[in-house]
């Protein structure tokens, strides 16, 4: 049977893609950020997951307003990255796991989630940046992936309550997969940031630090929060925190924190990192 071995929350800011491409790991601006990752990679080397389910949001590469699904799950053999228009280098395709994808789609369908299945899907920096941070080298035997894409572009955006619910169902779906495989779940994006409007540059350190704590010990703290309230506290794009909620709800009981890091600012964002081991 499949087993959730852990979860990782990480920001996915596009500038990171450029910093990686330009080897800025020791640059004073970037060092406090990049230094968070080696302990997480060490944990991954130890645990050796077979597949990563990547909960992320598309920023206008694969999805446009003509077809904007609330929850979309990839079901392809591979996932290509592509030009996003502002110059992050395009990276190699990622390996899919269509059998697991369809198991998840069927299971979530049976629990009355209305999904969009995607048998071909371009993955943008929301997906690729976390993958590059966690698996900087990918060879023939690279980890398989399932993209789990959540709309944060067009309101209405899925509520924290709905995200916690689909996260729980995702956890059950994974654990009911009959193949022997180790699954790690990535919750990407966040923490607080706002790109647009007179409030651009808004970062809420206090809120972020609370998120870093509550996402581990008490994710249901956010269950009754509206998207409006979340945007107020986290900034317009800080609503990406719902992706962390999906990941965390899939994990179930309180996990063990292997490593964490929080740094302000990366680009316009409070950048958070959490590596969580499933307690069995």
């Amino acid at each position: 049977m499949a087993k959730i071995v852990g979860g990782i929350c990480t920001s996915h800011i596009p500038a990171i893609g450029n910093a990686i491409a330009n080897d800025l790991f020791e640059d004073p601006y970037w060092k406090p950020f990049f230094d968070g990752y080696p302990p997480v990679r060490a944990w991954l080397d130890k645990v050796k997951p077979d597949v990563a389910i990547v909960v992320y949001n598309d920023h206008g590469l694969n999805f446009f307003l003509d077809k904007m699904p609330t929850f979309a799950i990839g079901a392809a053999k591979e996932y290509k990255n592509d030009d996003e228009g502002w110059g992050i280098p395009t990276i190699d395709p990622f390996k899919g796991d269509p059998e697991l994808s369809w198991h998840l789609i069927n299971s979530l369908h049976d629990e009355e989630f209305d999904l969009c299945s995607c048998q071909e899907m371009l993955v943008d920096h929301g997906f690729t940046v976390p993958m590059s941070l966690l698996w900087p080298e990918r060879g023939e035997d690279q980890i398989k992936t399932v993209p789990f894409c959540v709309n944060t572009v067009q309101h209405p955006v899925a509520s924290p309550r709905r995200c916690l619910a689909i996260g729980e169902a995702l956890g059950r779906a994974i654990e009911s997969y009959p193949e022997d495989c180790k699954v790690v779940i990535l919750g990407t994006g966040g923490l607080s940031h706002q790109l647009d409007g007179e409030r651009a540059g808004f970062i809420n350190k206090e809120f972020d630090l609370e998120c870093m704590e509550k996402i581990v010990s008490d994710p249901y703290h956010y269950q009754n929060m509206s998207i409006h309230e979340l945007v107020k506290l986290a900034g317009a794009q800080g609503s990406e925190f719902i992706l962390w909620l999906i990941m965390r709800a899939a994990m179930g009981k309180t996990p063990q924190v292997i490593h964490q890091n929080y740094h302000i600012p990366i680009s316009n964002t409070g950048a958070g990192l959490l590596c969580l081991d499933t307690v069995s």
């Binding site: 502002w86 572009v153 107020k232």
Partner: protein, 115 residues
């Protein structure tokens, strides 16, 4: 169909109402994922506006590179970011413009948020 909750300072909810207003503008910006479209825009902006049916107010906002006006006319920041990139503006440049700060001050504000 509108967001009936209390407004948040300096924050536009990209809801149905804004989406209706901004469709052409956003569709134009989405097209900038492709290099050939970026080139076509740079070669003849006015023709490119018309190709996507931009309103006069949207054209004016893009012509003048005023991002707040683009947002007011229904532009969604995820797509506008592609236009900004094409114009060589970083998210800090755009943030500075929208908040009426210099880019240095805007960056300092971000650093200060960590203190």
């Amino acid at each position: 169909m509108t967001n009936t909750q209390a407004p948040i300072f300096g924050t536009t909810f990209f809801d149905g109402q804004m989406a209706i207003k901004g469709y052409g503008l956003n569709k134009m910006c989405y097209s900038f994922n492709k290099a050939e479209n970026r080139e076509e825009f740079l070669k003849d902006e006015e023709a490119y506006y018309d190709k996507f049916g931009l309103t006069d107010a949207q054209k004016e906002a893009v012509r003048k590179r005023v991002v707040l006006d683009m947002i007011a006319e229904g532009g969604n920041i995820y797509y506008l970011a592609k236009l900004a990139g094409l114009l060589g503006l970083s998210v800090q440049d755009v943030g500075a413009q929208m908040t009426g700060k210099t880019v240095e001050d805007f960056k300092q504000m971000l650093v200060d948020a960590g203190k």
